[in-house]
Assembly symmetry: C2
């Protein structure tokens, strides 16, 4: 067999249905796709590759999928921490957004986010923010994969005026990227409290037509549920269900407030949940019942949320937090095992975004989105089970190589597409401006 | 003023009572002690230093204090994860300990732990394990500071036979290190369920006499409390109180099961709590009410626990988990702010160990135990508040320089005392042996 690239690794976790661990295996890549996954010894005999990369002591995994972000908010990282939720929003985040957000802010913030994510092994992310056309462009230029949200809220911002205006701008973006190899466009109505019934209904019809996911914050806090009961006489999930949105296209973010029949409903509808454990902790939003959701057969992906409430876009760390917190919340050390956390951060995220045929596991035919981590560091030794070291002990600085569609976007820990000096300098400039105006 | 070493940093967090942030400051060091902390501009004029180190873009903090470890258990890192507690203990950890633990295991495991901790900015740790004389020796050789536990249990092991035998061996260790500049020795009765009344009473008398802390697992799980009620007719804390152990010498580890009057009792007695959030989550032990303890005035330090239940000795990460989880458990985003988490990981740990006059903050007269982190990485940009970046966004790979008593033990991220190649090779050999025998 011919291949453009042949990567040998000491361990491979393909995230296949059996959660197999393959020792001394190789991945053959051509035209941006995985052509074969086989023992290294066999690959050396049977594959003629233009380039061969040897990774002893490394673990090869599918690229991580960060299933909920507001990428540009990296520019507000650490601006206002440890505050009550309403003080944080009303006195810091919203005034900052109102004053500063424009295409240039979104471009520079997204570039900082994309650099951070690629270096940490995230190859695909699902974003919701203003000026999504800028987000899409920066992501494509960086050689990263993105599902860019057609954001919709009822109220006007610098980006759009009415719900219909947001939708129109979103649809134009969707048209522009219809055939793009890296960029997908999804609906992203912000939340039940920021979007009224009519736009939700329009979004449902359009999402059916375009076959795109609907990315929405849902049941993030107890207050959200109380407010919905007061304003609509029903819980937010019930309201979305009445409006026809609870189905396989629904990508519901957070879900810290769930009653057992709601979990059943999500499972039966084939709706997806994206768990953001660190954001939920930091904002004291509540605890998502991850083990219960997984037990019920609900597909649960993993997201970092924006850097203003995390404060990083470290999906490797988020996997660890999800595995640890899942056990604490369920009261059982056996739930959310390392392999399940890795599935959440890869194939489950891909499935939520409708991309499970393309990414999320290392299987012949899928896109060559791969990450290699060096486990040789003292804090990941000795190695009994690579998946344990990956989830419970590794740091993202151990991510050494990243490929997206076979393109080497991180080489030896360094971005091949973005100039970190420039990206950081621009973040600093924004930081100085925003910091001087805040508080 | 004369100094041997003058360190200029862009930001200094001295962890003083006002939680000040000092920009462009310098620390002057002589004879292993901090002589002055002043603006860099002033230091350049007034201090004659033999060596000057410039750290632009770096944050200087006190060395971190890991207030609860079983260092040698690094050799069991990831051996058996995601199992119910009793399966984990009875089928993996205890059989492995029974078969393998000897001075050579403890030496090699401790060396791996010390390397990991120093590289991650931990300059002092509080350990409980068998063969503590080996732990003490390895720690001293590495130039690290340790409070080494005189472990006591009722049952025989390869290390000792009876509670009195453990105590006798511990006292010999205490004598040997009485004048050592880096090593302190404390009592470490394992737990209320592993130690009966008579040895606890002897320990209380001896600890008073020697003026050393008493390091004990306490109220780690609900089962522990239930068992104590059944066997002793009282909760473990009540039992220790009856035996006279609840006072300023008590360093109680975990404390996930606490009723309000017990919190009051701890505060009134001046007893210390060491919070180990990641271990508590991973073993599903319960949630320590950190915000309530801090509010009540209880001194709360921070520990990683052993690598078999964490699985790393990353106190920087533990700070982040403590700050996040503390908010989630309290239901308030404003509690356990970044500065409080940093205090837990430094001065509070020092206070619990009776070392607050020596370490835990950067103040003239204290030992020069310091850590410099490079915040220039993209994921810690922009910088509004260095303490936020430190606690919520930084990774331990950003620790670049570490000094203990003025000795440069980590230079540019590399240990000056331990050979990582040797330490890792020996960990691998143990891993192969132990892995082949496990399960």
């Amino acid at each position: 067999m011919q291949a453009e690239l042949l990567i040998h690794a000491q361990w491979v976790l393909p995230v296949d249905p059996e959660d197999r661990q393959l020792d001394d295996h190789a991945v053959a890549i051509a035209d941006g796709r995985i052509r074969a996954l086989m023992p290294s010894q066999e690959a050396r005999r049977s594959i003629q590759a233009q380039r061969v990369i040897e990774l002893p002591g490394h673990l090869l995994i599918p690229g991580l999928v960060n299933a909920h972000t507001h990428a540009a908010m990296t520019l507000m990282r650490g601006l206002a921490d440890d505050l009550p939720l309403m003080t944080w929003l009303h006195q810091h985040i919203w005034p900052t957004e109102k004053r500063w957000i424009d295409p240039s802010f979104v471009g520079d913030g997204t570039r900082l986010a994309v650099l951070e994510m690629l270096r940490g092994g995230v190859t695909c992310y699902n974003d919701m923010y203003f000026y999504p056309e800028v987000t899409a462009q920066v992501t494509a230029e960086a050689g990263m994969r993105g599902v860019i949200g057609m954001i919709v809220v009822d109220f006007p911002t610098g980006y759009a005026d009415t719900a219909d205006d947001y939708i129109a701008k979103g649809l134009a973006l969707h048209d522009r990227y219809r055939e793009h190899p890296l960029i997908r466009v999804a609906f992203a109505p912000h939340s039940p409290y920021a979007v009224s019934d009519a736009p939700f209904e329009r979004i449902r019809v359009l999402a059916d037509e375009l076959e795109v996911p609907i990315h929405v914050h849902l049941h993030e806090t107890h207050d959200e549920v109380v407010q919905s009961l007061r304003d609509h006489g029903e819980r937010p999930l019930g309201r979305l269900d009445r409006l026809g949105l609870v189905g396989p296209a629904l990508v519901s973010i957070h879900m810290t407030q769930l009653e057992d029949p709601e979990i059943e409903r999500l499972a039966q509808a084939g709706a997806h949940v994206v768990h953001c454990p660190e954001s939920n902790l930091k904002l004291a939003s509540g605890f998502c019942p991850v083990a219960k959701l997984l037990d019920a057969g609900v597909n649960v992906g993993l997201g970092t949320d924006g850097a203003a409430s995390n404060n990083d876009l470290n999906l490797l760390g988020e996997m660890r937090t999800a595995a640890l917190l899942g056990k604490g919340v369920a009261g059982s050390a056996a739930v959310v095992p390392a392999a399940a956390a890795l599935r959440m951060a890869t194939i489950n995220g891909a499935r939520a975004l409708g991309l499970e045929g393309e990414i999320g596991s290392l299987e012949p035919g899928k896109s060559a989105d791969l990450v290699a981590l060096d486990l040789g560091d003292s804090h990941t030794q000795p190695i009994y089970h690579p998946v344990s070291q990956l989830v419970y002990a590794a740091g993202r600085h151990q991510v050494r190589q990243v490929w997206v569609q076979g393109q080497h976007v991180i080489r030896d820990g360094v971005s091949t597409r973005l100039d970190p000096t420039e990206v950081i300098a621009s973040a600093r400039t924004w930081g100085e401006r925003i910091g001087a105006a805040d508080g």
